[in-house]
Symmetry: none
Subunit: 219 residues, 2 copies
DNA sequence: CGCGCGCTGTCAGCGCAATGTCAGCGGGGC
DNA sequence: GCCCCGCTGACATTGCGCTGACAGCGCGCG
């Protein structure tokens, strides 16, 4: 899962990036509204965390512009103000959730998990596929009840596939969503990663559909 | 839109019903957790507003039971408690949103609109022709409900024909649209491809109009 | 501050599914 | 009845995706 954080206050931005990366997400930062708009247009994000008080282009206008352009990306709004009017306005502008500063990082993470799983059409925080269980809260994975030690990237890959169960996910899409904007990689990186993950899973759970992508076995 | 409100405090329940009906929703009330569970099982609701402090079966347990039973109905949690732990727990149990009492009715309505809007956005694009179904989201194809394993090109060909249903598509046009410009192929490539596709489909769905092109049977 | 280890991307080679080509055939249209 | 378009099965080729080896990097530990 790859996130865009639009926040101009450096300290908060750094905190957010740290906590989110710790929680297993790939994170890109944008320091003003125009930058965020550009990033959101050009790159592929699974969700956006948006501070309302941004320079150059304020959060609400950015959100309306995004929605106007047809984007359905989940957006979590962050704000200093706490009035219900702003909340209502933000939510009706197309925000998926709303959080007032100061907030507990745990709550932000929980709300983020919620909008991500909702965007994927799931109700539960526990993703299950046959003998496989992935718990997005504790970031743990088990097969047949036996816990697995996955690396950060392996976890991200598996979580992404589970979020998109029932669909063949192309390797190119995985490249877009597993990494932040720093470096370019070739699709072979995905293949290698996948090979390692499959070996750890033991069971053949991830199916390759030549030319289409990868799918988690329906089971 | 039909809503289920699970709230035991009569005064709040009446307020909610009033405001929600005012806003144009059909509203059913449930006064305890067991009743809400029964209602949710028997009737079809577009969303549920759930108080956590319910008698007989508390809200969180009810929510977990619902999610465990596979329901994806949007649920908005209402609570007197305001600690972040409860929020996190509620959201991770599968709630779509969370609101602490006391709240402004406007905010509740806004959040309700948001979760309803989101739940509506999950329809997947289906192309249908008689017994044939092609789902562009999952990139899957089925005939009479039986899934087919198509190769990337076969899928592209079929999707193109379905997009242009009702028109005879010449082989030359298919050559132009199925391949990216690099290599030149002969129209026989299309014929061979088509033969393989027809064999997999089983039923004679793709008709040849000699001299004009190919059409998907109107069905 | 240096060392080592785990993580991860790249490379080269390989096997196999996918797909284009070819040659022969059948049938529809004029 | 002839001719040409389109179909088919066989075969060749290509390129996708898998694998094992290796190297760079970052982080924790001594």
């Amino acid at each position: 899962m790859r996130l865009l954080v639009a926040e101009d206050e450096p300290h908060i931005a750094a905190d957010l990036r740290g906590a989110l990366e710790q929680a297993g997400y790939a994170v890109d930062l944008a320091v003003d509204g125009e930058a965020a708009w550009f990033q959101a247009e050009v790159e592929a994000y699974d969700a956006m965390i948006l501070d309302l008080g941004l320079p150059r282009l304020d959060g609400l206008s950015l959100l309306r512009r995004l929605r106007g352009a047809g984007s359905t990306m989940p957006v979590l709004i962050l704000t200093a103000r706490d009035g219900w009017r702003e909340k209502v306005e933000g939510i009706d502008a197309g925000a998926d959730d709303y959080l007032a500063k100061p907030f507990r990082m745990e709550e932000l993470l929980a709300r983020l998990r919620a909008i991500l799983r909702r965007a994927a059409g799931h109700a539960s925080a526990l993703l299950v596929a046959g003998p496989l269980e992935l718990d997005t809260r504790s970031r743990t994975v088990a097969v047949d009840g036996r816990a697995l030690a996955l690396t950060a990237l392996e976890y991200r890959l598996l979580a992404y596939l589970l979020h998109h169960r029932g669909r063949a996910v192309p390797a190119g899409e995985l490249l877009d969503h597993l990494y932040d904007g720093e470096a370019e990689r070739e699709t072979n990186a995905i293949e290698a990663l996948l090979a390692r993950l499959r070996r750890k899973l033991g069971t053949p759970l991830i199916e390759t559909r030549r030319g289409h992508g990868y799918v988690i076995a329906a089971a």
